[in-house]
Symmetry: C2
Subunit: 364 residues, 2 copies
Amino acid sequence: MTSQHLVPVILLGVGGVGRALIQQILARRDYHVSQYGVRLEIVAVADRNGACVAPQGLSESELRTIVEHKAGGGYLADLSFGYYQHNVRDIVDLEAHANTIVVDVTATDNTFDALLLARERRAGIVLANKLPLTRPLEKSSPLWQYPRLRYETTVGSAVPVITTAQRLAASGERIERVQGSFSGTLGYIMTAIEEGMAFSKAVLRAKELGYTEPDPREDLSGRDVARKALILARTLGWKVEMADIRVQSLFPEEWATWPLEDFLAELPALDADFFSWRNVSQARHEALRYVAKLTPDQITVGLEFVPQTSPLGRLQGTDNLVEFYTEYYDPQPLALQGRGAGVEATASGVLSDIIQLALASSSA
Amino acid sequence: MTSQHLVPVILLGVGGVGRALIQQILARRDYHVSQYGVRLEIVAVADRNGACVAPQGLSESELRTIVEHKAGGGYLADLSFGYYQHNVRDIVDLEAHANTIVVDVTATDNTFDALLLARERRAGIVLANKLPLTRPLEKSSPLWQYPRLRYETTVGSAVPVITTAQRLAASGERIERVQGSFSGTLGYIMTAIEEGMAFSKAVLRAKELGYTEPDPREDLSGRDVARKALILARTLGWKVEMADIRVQSLFPEEWATWPLEDFLAELPALDADFFSWRNVSQARHEALRYVAKLTPDQITVGLEFVPQTSPLGRLQGTDNLVEFYTEYYDPQPLALQGRGAGVEATASGVLSDIIQLALASSSA
């Protein structure tokens, strides 16, 4: 490929990952042109109220303005260029064709119709957003069956968990079990507890460091890990629904509906349990981990005691670990490890997906 | 994709990996049809003297006959069906078109012209053979630049090292260093030495177990690891040649030309060195490993002392480990681990490459 292949990008979402992605696309544009002959042009950036749109591509200075403005908490509506007060489906309707790549880095359900429209237009789709893929299969199968979809960063950030699962599924070798620590947030909290910190304090510290969702119950309920397990299972070709996953929450069910301050204030009531589990586990040379475990028969997500000397037991901080036990990887698994959080690493994984989609459609 | 997509496969090489691949293709044909709508038909199987060819696909019983016959050490020339006494380029010339996938699981240089012809025909190419990719760039760049090439199993067997490197290169993030143990064979020998076995005995044991090449100097010279390092570096986009790699051989240079028996008989002369290195390393709580280390400035392959508690130090037996240190994976690397040997795992990785190539060309 010697000629330059122009690829329009529609970006849905301008949170931390979206802003990092814009910056990386700008910083690496020359590299992508010289190395792959691919020139990415961001033609639309959408937040929850509307979008900045420029069919020929937003300029570098416009994009930098967007990044700074959103980092300051502003809305795109307040900007003075190319703003349309449309929903995301309208933006896709306006701008997407077969050469376009629609990138969803939101954490909402509201992009679903826009993604289905992108599929109809034969546009490429890249998701860091887990929600479209965790709907009931009846709803989400048009996405699952779409060959021009990439979603590597929905599980394990940029660690290539999905790519690996896709390769194993493609070969058709028997998958016996997949297990691991899929949450950098819960990994951080478990490590802190192991080092003697109270559970409540570990949660607050994780929140301060920006590791948790704004409402940490999203993490502590296990829901986010369950979503990742569901996406991984479906990638392996298993026909499973969210309701099939046994999820252990780290707090009592009735706390789920409380105001956030009340929830945070009550957290120390759970400290004693975690202290005693920690003491039991250390006496047994084990470590307490929040583990996802997938077999063709059952998927569970919850607390486990694992040997301190096992890969899971040795895991520290926000690192993720995923172990695949298969027909040929048993007793020793195929294992992937690396940081499971951080907006820049995730943005970099999204960018890999974008470039590889662009290359796949230009080469075949 | 609901219709059935017929994909003709030309298989070059019927050693252990080739035979395992034929068996896997047969055993999983129904799965590949139902899951992906892809039906693989092996239209030619070549050994060093010629090929069995059937444009409509060799039958299951013919393929089983080939597998058994080759496992017994026979030549395809002795079979009574579809045999042509042609070189591999002629076979590709006869059978390859844009829908075909040419699979090279030989360990020879003789397939190169056939692969270039496959490229001209726009056929897919899957390599487990490292040699075509380790020629000088001037020669091999037509392959390197070919988008319908897959070669995941050339480094780390089916552990997705190449896929990961391709993703990192696509994103464009800065690669600081890649290091690891790329040889299941040398990993086994290092572990055995650590456990107190003499070097010479460990080599002979590895040879008995089928872990080494027929001539173990291929492994012990570091040449095979250097080839993997070269392929990995080029995958990262680095313009390097074999001569740029500093390779430490585990035996004196002048032994390279000896008859194999003389070489094996002389091996115990090296035992004392390895014993003393092992003792030094244990006293320092270190482990002796054969390590490949790649930076943008320098690539080295050789013996290293590493901390016993590091991932490389904990590595046991034939497992491979590859650690990527990048802009976003530092100080903790993105790490991949899993068995680096075994004909069935490698065949399964080759099969992933074949199916993914077939899907890429049918979907875009």
